[in-house]
């Protein structure tokens, strides 16, 4: 096992790219620590599967190097990289039994028979298929097949990393939870480096110690789930993570005050001169409704999503969502005031988070 380093990596599917827009992956520098559980999160088409295929060697990058430990593997074929990968759709060898499927990667590497036997039994137990080992894989349901794929990914002990490419897409919702928990446990038991590609934030946040968020061919943030929630580095992270996502409002930043239309909101720090499009972002969880003070808002509607209620309002024409505390009373008419917790407000210039020049109060963050 080894640390994986991506250095100045970029990829395009065009033979003669005309510019940055032709690159599926724009320049990426990133290190995956050995034994980490990572999620690679992003919307469809953001380049996360491309990145995965570059790491596993199914594709060769157009630019940059890939290092496993200190060794350069950019040009090494997949087989030499000693990587396991589980695909979006189950890939099982139909004519083999479940046992043979699980043993296949080990047999190809010339492992000893009794080792294979014991290892297969162990993995079968982990994925809960001890009873069906001698069945032919043909004719099994999609989620059982995907379990076999997962098992085949796990069966080699010495892999440099296990890559998961949205592995739970075909699995029934009630089984998803179970398999994800199992994966988490497997990670704790064996300490493999795991990279889990998904577009589902719940999957990413529950599985991973560290989440890598990708947007439009770039890595926009690497952080723990908490960091992504509290201090999104990019408006995309703010919007993509959390349910509902972060409220983003166009604002003019002047020192420690944000001007939203004709209203003002105090900020948690003092900002210098910002260029480009400036916005403030605030989580719906960090907005409170008040009768007086704060920003005047118009209430549009209230959604009940089960665990809590969400107030949909408008401030200066921009939509703002508010998570209402349990039992909170609402004003009878359509207007109210909203208070943004100043230290929770993020300031973004051209979508990237800006740091305050003179933090007034860091205790809240």
């Amino acid at each position: 096992m080894a640390k994986i380093t991506l250095s100045n990596l970029a990829h395009t599917y065009f033979p003669y790219p005309r510019g940055e827009q032709d690159y599926a992956l724009k320049t990426i520098d990133l290190t995956w620590d050995d034994g980490g559980a990572y999620a690679l999160l992003g919307a469809s088409g953001c380049g996360k599967s491309t990145l995965l295929n570059l790491i596993s060697g199914l594709r060769r990058p157009s630019q940059g190097r890939i290092l496993f430990g200190d060794g350069d593997v950019t040009d090494a074929p997949t087989a030499e990289r000693n990587i396991a990968q589980v695909f979006q759709f189950p890939v099982v060898y139909d004519t083999m039994t479940v046992r043979e499927n699980l043993a296949f990667p080990l047999r190809n590497r010339g492992m000893k028979k009794d080792y294979i036997q014991s290892r297969v039994d162990q993995v079968a137990k982990m994925i809960g298929m001890e009873g069906t080992l001698s069945r032919k894989a043909r004719g099994l349901t999609a989620d059982v097949k995907q379990k076999i794929s997962l098992g085949r990914g796990m069966v080699r002990e010495d892999v440099n990393a296990i890559l998961f490419d949205e592995p739970l897409t075909v699995i029934d919702p009630h089984l998803k939870w179970e398999l994800r928990t199992q994966l988490k446990k497997l990670h704790q038991d064996f300490g493999h480096t795991m990279i889990y590609v998904t577009h589902d934030q719940t999957e990413a946040l529950t599985f991973a110690d560290k989440v890598v968020v990708m947007h439009d061919g770039r890595i926009v943030q690497v952080g723990t789930p908490e960091e992504l929630f509290e201090r999104p580095a990019h408006t995309f992270v703010g919007y993509f993570i959390g349910s509902p996502g972060m409220n983003l409002l166009d604002a003019v930043i002047d020192g420690n005050v944000a001007h939203i239309g004709e209203h003002e909101a105090p900020l948690g720090g003092k900002f210098g001169h910002l260029t480009g499009r400036t916005q403030i972002g605030i989580r719906p969880e960090h907005v409170t409704v008040s009768r007086t003070g704060g920003l005047p808002a118009t209430i549009m509607r209230v959604d009940d999503v089960g665990r809590h209620r969400i107030l949909r309002a408008e401030v200066a024409g921009a939509p703002v969502a508010v998570v209402l505390p349990e039992g909170a009373a609402l004003p009878a008419d359509d207007s109210c005031h909203l208070i943004f917790q100043p230290e929770k407000i993020g300031v973004f210039a051209d979508d990237w988070r800006m740091a305050p020049e003179h933090p007034q109060d860091r205790s809240g963050s």
């Binding site: 080894a2 060794g71 593997v73 074929p77 030499e80 990289r81 000693n82 440099n160």
Partner: protein, 289 residues
């Protein structure tokens, strides 16, 4: 942990496995090229001969015509027994293609959309006709078409070829039609289309490629046949295949013209094959791939 895993280090140092894949690629490329050469050389020889004079052909083997001539093609295009052979063949082939596809369309639709009494047996029976040896039918066809006064007519050959081309067309079209979801039909009926209007205006455009492929295969199997067309024709409708076999056996001499006639029979197929290249396998497997 930044140390390199020992198995990993061991795996990267020799470059043998990559050289192996390269060697493998080169070998398979070489094999393919050899095979295509094997396919093309006899055809090349036919083309080569068609541009030689008979004296040159008989005087020995040369890889290119020493005395290049269009004379052989000239003979074919000026002698009516030759060029009428093509015309006659094309007439019955096109007739057959038209008949086969026209009657196969509604039948294929029935098989792909409805289940009805005896459908499976009927489908199987059609298949057996496609598989039947033409030799078995040669003599009875001769008698049948003589007795109804159709012997030595284009329509006789066209109808006889229907025996194996209609089943083929039904199978191919059925294969394409099952790819069109049934919801398309239902939506059209709800929108108030009649069956005929729906079939002509909505459904046929959807399976246009299937119709093209079915037509191509009917054309082809009618075109490649010699046995039945030879049996059912004599003087009026002399087919190109017959013209060729008679020349080779009777005179045994005019090789240049024979080669030119052969080249001309390859051209129609070679021209249209580009359009159906992605469906060839489907056609040969009777629409089932």
């Amino acid at each position: 942990m930044t140390t390199i895993d020992p198995t990993f280090a061991k795996a990267t140092s020799p470059r043998r496995s990559r050289d192996n894949t390269k060697l493998h690629k080169a070998m398979s490329r070489g094999m393919l090229i050899l095979y295509i050469l094997f396919l093309l050389v006899p055809i090349y020889w036919l083309v080569n001969m068609s541009f030689k004079t008979n004296t040159e052909i008989l005087s020995g083997v040369s890889l290119l015509p020493q005395d290049f001539t269009w004379h052989n093609y000239g003979v074919i295009f000026s002698d009516s027994t030759w060029y009428m052979g093509y015309v006659n063949s094309l007439i019955y082939v096109l007739l057959n293609t038209l008949i086969s596809v026209t009657v196969a369309l509604p039948a294929a639709y029935a098989f792909s959309r409805y289940s009805f009494m005896g459908d499976k047996h009927l489908f199987f029976w059609l298949l057996t006709n496609r598989m039947a040896p033409a030799a078995v039918f040669a003599l009875p066809f001769f008698q049948l078409y003589s007795s109804v006064g159709l012997f030595d007519t284009h329509i006789a050959v066209a109808l006889a070829h229907c025996l194996f081309n209609i089943p083929l067309a039904v199978w191919i079209l059925e294969g394409f039609m099952r790819g069109v979801p049934k919801e398309v039909d239902e939506t059209a009926y709800i929108d108030g289309h009649s069956f005929g209007g729906f079939f002509l205006k909505i459904f046929m455009p959807l399976i246009a490629s299937g119709i093209g492929v079915a037509a191509f295969f009917c054309f082809m199997f009618s075109w490649v046949d010699l046995l039945i067309s030879r049996t059912l024709t004599s003087v009026n409708v002399k087919t190109i295949g017959v013209a060729m076999t008679r020349t080779s056996s009777a005179t045994g001499l005019d090789y240049g013209v024979l080669a030119a006639a052969g080249v001309l029979t390859i051209i129609p197929g070679a021209l249209v094959i580009w359009f159906v290249r992605n469906y060839i396998a489907k056609g040969f497997a009777l629409g089932r791939v």
